[in-house]
Assembly symmetry: C2
Homo-oligomer: 223 residues x 2
DNA sequence: AGCGTACCCTTACACCGTAAGCCTGTCAAG
DNA sequence: CTTGACAGGCTTACGGTGTAAGGGTACGCT
């Protein structure tokens, strides 16, 4: 006696019919709570009440799933608006990207290892490039500027996430690090650790961002 | 009849006795030619003429191996000298780090996911922080400046490596991309693709780097 | 001579991604 | 109503992964 696969009529189907979107949502949730290595085809199937192989009817690869959830994260970042002035527009979207990447700590690594940008990423790229061009930068400078800005966003976030402390626990761990590293061998790092112990915020995404934006503004052709 | 495990006396031993260093060297080679996913305990053992489990006598984990080879890469980067002026010193070491990461394309991702810096990394951190402090920056600014500089180094390199083209093949692939992306949907990206097709170098590590250094110089207390 | 021990091997387990093929409920065409 | 195609799920299997547990052996020391 096979258990009824779907109710014969309008009775609520025992499970929703599975779809690319449902798979990606579940994968995103898995990644958020357990990191990328927590999303495996088997576990994903389990969460969805389905066997692992069933996923392959809706998705080519595990790679495709990673592509998908990476783009879901990209879809969360605020696309720069062409209506604001270029600087605040780009600044806001960079900050928004930083926040999105922090919300999904696994996403940086995944995005960086992806070859083909998804639609959300393309939309973002298009908009940023558009705003920069609109600001009067020539094409070559736009390319360089974009690389610099995005490098800071990704690089900063990933270092930040790799750091062994989050904002809340900074002083504790910093003290521990200071002890390990102590004085003699690394005096300069010890000074940094001391600073961190004082509770001063060490992580300032906007510092580097503004350095870059200031520099770009200075390069911008008048008009 | 077990094959002679080691020659009874001075006859050249059939294999060197295995050691952490030998393991790391082999792992580094493996990673360089096949990426991180090419370094597995079994394959590593095979390369060293040894069974996988034997590695665990010299190394705690696979993680420890990754820690090790990551630090080997860090050891390749030029530590900033306190004798040069701060700017050229920091600049040179950033460029050197960029080159080291390019030589070992897998290293960026590995380094970013590592929690505890190895000795080479510590040496590098200590030196950079030292030079920045020597340049007159106060501690808080040193922390921010360092984060910004390192973010650019890592972020840029990783984007660069994720890009589907290297310098040589740029025009070809860019053309292909331009076709895929074509005009209507992403006019700005199309313009970028066109630029890339013209053969103009798109990747300029030093552009963003100098933006940051210029900004820092301006922030630097006089004297 | 005998012992400790450093080193390597064997076996085994739980997990991974996915190729190949089967089974069955649904639905449109005849 | 019958029939056939087919979509969407399941089963099984293969070759890979990291590593826990324990077995054996050859060397250096006393």
């Amino acid at each position: 006696m096979p258990k009824p696969p779907t109710a014969s009529r309008g009775k609520a189907a025992p499970r929703a019919p599975l779809s690319r979107a449902r798979i990606l949502d579940a994968a995103l949730a898995l990644a958020d709570e357990g990191g990328v290595e927590a999303v495996s085809m088997r576990r994903l199937g389990q969460v969805l009440g389905v066997e692992a192989m069933s996923l392959y009817k809706h998705v080519a690869d595990k790679e495709a799933i990673l592509d998908g959830i990476a783009d879901l994260v990209m879809a969360e970042v605020e696309v720069p608006s062409p209506d604001l002035d270029w600087r605040t527009s780009v600044r806001r979207s960079a900050i928004s990207a930083h926040e999105a990447l922090r919300r999904h700590p696994w996403a940086g690594i995944v995005l960086e290892s992806r070859l083909n940008p998804g639609p959300a990423r393309l939309r973002y790229l298009e908009a940023v490039v558009g705003v920069l061009r609109g600001a009067g930068f020539d094409t070559a400078t736009v390319a360089r500027a974009f690389m610099a800005l995005d490098s800071h966003t990704y690089g900063f976030t990933m270092q930040e996430l790799a750091l062994p402390f989050d904002a809340a626990t900074t002083p504790r761990i910093a003290a521990e690090m200071a002890a390990r590293v102590f004085a003699d061998d690394y005096p300069n790092l010890a000074a940094m650790a001391e600073l961190a112990m004082s509770g001063a915020p060490m992580l300032d995404f906007e510092f580097g961002l503004d350095l870059l934006l200031d520099g770009l503004e200075r390069l911008r052709p008048a008009g």
